[in-house]
Symmetry: C2
Subunit: 283 residues, 2 copies
């Protein structure tokens, strides 16, 4: 059966899959970078799409935002200075700033309109934007990273769209080399890395590029993300230093994060790789 116009649909020709939400469009604009649309869905709250791809919904963004920030922050021995590349909806920034050990968090988003629309439709994600530790910078993340003071960052979170269009340059050795330079000796990078079922080849290429750039270790974590293709998503962590990831999993600190998905158990679970993924990554 086919869906009528009361549904938003994201068809992905490359994977032969599509996801739909019952929704009504309430806003649409073309920015210098991309087309942003806002929908009022029947069951997922507000939905923002960019160039036809789902970005963030009220109902399920906690999965992605928590898992893009807490596992990496709790794997770094001392994450004081954090930079988010992309992440214009401010949801990752909010999660990062739940960590008292973070002294500064800078969000580098190319398209200011993403943030302005998030302030309007997802105010709960923007509730830490006025935190004195937060800086919102609007500009090109690739150039920003080139210009960053060497050794000044502890954790880089790359919270971007898919590796096509404006985000393409954020996936690959050239950008990772600039990240390594900007990171301190314990530095880590975490990047959204698509679906463990649909995009395993891409994940493999990303890890290879990270290692070629000079990161000595890469790790994959995975978690549900309902509105993204396949409903199953991943992030990749790259480390400048060898050795096991730190694991600051004290229950009191984790309870204080007030997370909905994340806890010490789901932290460990996220790093438990399916056998076919282990084999593909040679892990």
């Amino acid at each position: 059966m086919t869906l009528d116009r009361s549904w938003f649909t994201e068809p992905m020709e490359s994977t032969g899959t599509a996801f739909s939400l019952k929704a009504e469009k309430v806003h649409e604009e073309q920015t210098p970078y991309q087309k942003i649309e806002i929908f009022k869905t029947e069951t997922f709250g507000w939905l923002m799409t960019i160039d036809g791809c789902t970005m963030v919904s009220t109902r399920d963004n906690f999965l992605y935002h928590e898992m893009m920030s807490h596992p990496a922050l709790n794997s770094h021995p001392n994450p004081k200075n954090v930079v988010i590349v992309g992440g214009g909806d401010c949801g990752t920034l909010r999660e990062v700033l739940r960590h008292p050990e973070v002294a500064s968090a800078t969000q580098v988003e190319i398209d200011e309109r993403v943030t302005r629309l998030a302030e309007q439709y997802f105010p709960e994600l923007c509730e830490k934007n006025a935190d004195p530790r937060a800086t919102l910078f609007f500009g090109d993340g690739i150039q920003w990273m080139k210009d960053a003071k060497p050794g000044s960052i502890d954790l880089i979170i790359i919270d971007s769209t898919d590796p096509v269009g404006p985000a393409e340059g954020l996936f690959g050795k050239k950008f990772y080399l600039d990240c390594i330079k900007a990171l301190g000796p314990d530095g880590m990078l975490v990047q959204q890395s698509e679906s463990p079922l649909l995009h395993l080849g891409l994940i493999k290429e990303m890890h290879q590029a990270m290692r070629e750039a000079g990161f000595v270790q890469t790790h994959l974590l995975h978690f549900p993300q309902v509105i993204y293709p396949s409903g199953w998503w991943s992030a990749s962590i790259a480390c400048k230093k060898a050795g096991p990831l730190a694991s600051r999993l004290d229950e009191a600190a984790i309870a204080a994060l007030d997370a909905q998905f994340y806890n010490a158990d789901t932290h460990r679970a996220a790093f438990a790789l399916p056998t076919y993924v282990r084999k593909a990554l040679g892990a």
Copy 2:
């Protein structure tokens, strides 16, 4: 945008979500119980649907079949006699029979046509049907369980469609009471229990009904299942006996299962509950 007729779509009005696969229908029949359709998809191999709902695809069925069988089998101290209610595609039966400790596995499927079509389109799932330990019975699982010899079963796996139509009677206290009677003293039941995001209320009701029927413990496990609504699925384990679940996780035995998703790490990870699920279940 809307999808043209080159896509199969399962819209779920109750959850406001829909999933689609690029696919061409190759077979359709109405059985006494339900409408079965077979599609040739572009990227997921063959797809079987029942009454318009995705049941099984070549590409991703390993997720569901492995996680419906191995965690429960490795949580029971000595699972000799296993009964599968539903499971007509034979994929769960195949996984169960990978365990050398299983002495008999009986599949009780109401609709023989599901199995006959699986033999045709999913022969790999049927490769253990001729195993001397396997019995394929076609008939009503509810009646079968009523008539089962008391104390004769170690593990019941309820691998059914959603709790509407023919499968409705498999969810609820009345059926669970018959299961308890049929189970031995260490007996366990595992049942597919829908999406942890979309159907949390149903999961809660299931666990409550299981406990009201006399199971002393219930556990939830969760895993990705791409073609099912939300891409995130769960199973519930109910135990007759109190105490921690056994955990027969020796790496050599697990490697011999030749599973694609399941291993000792993903076993443990499946039981790691998100904070909001813990709260909802009072876990």
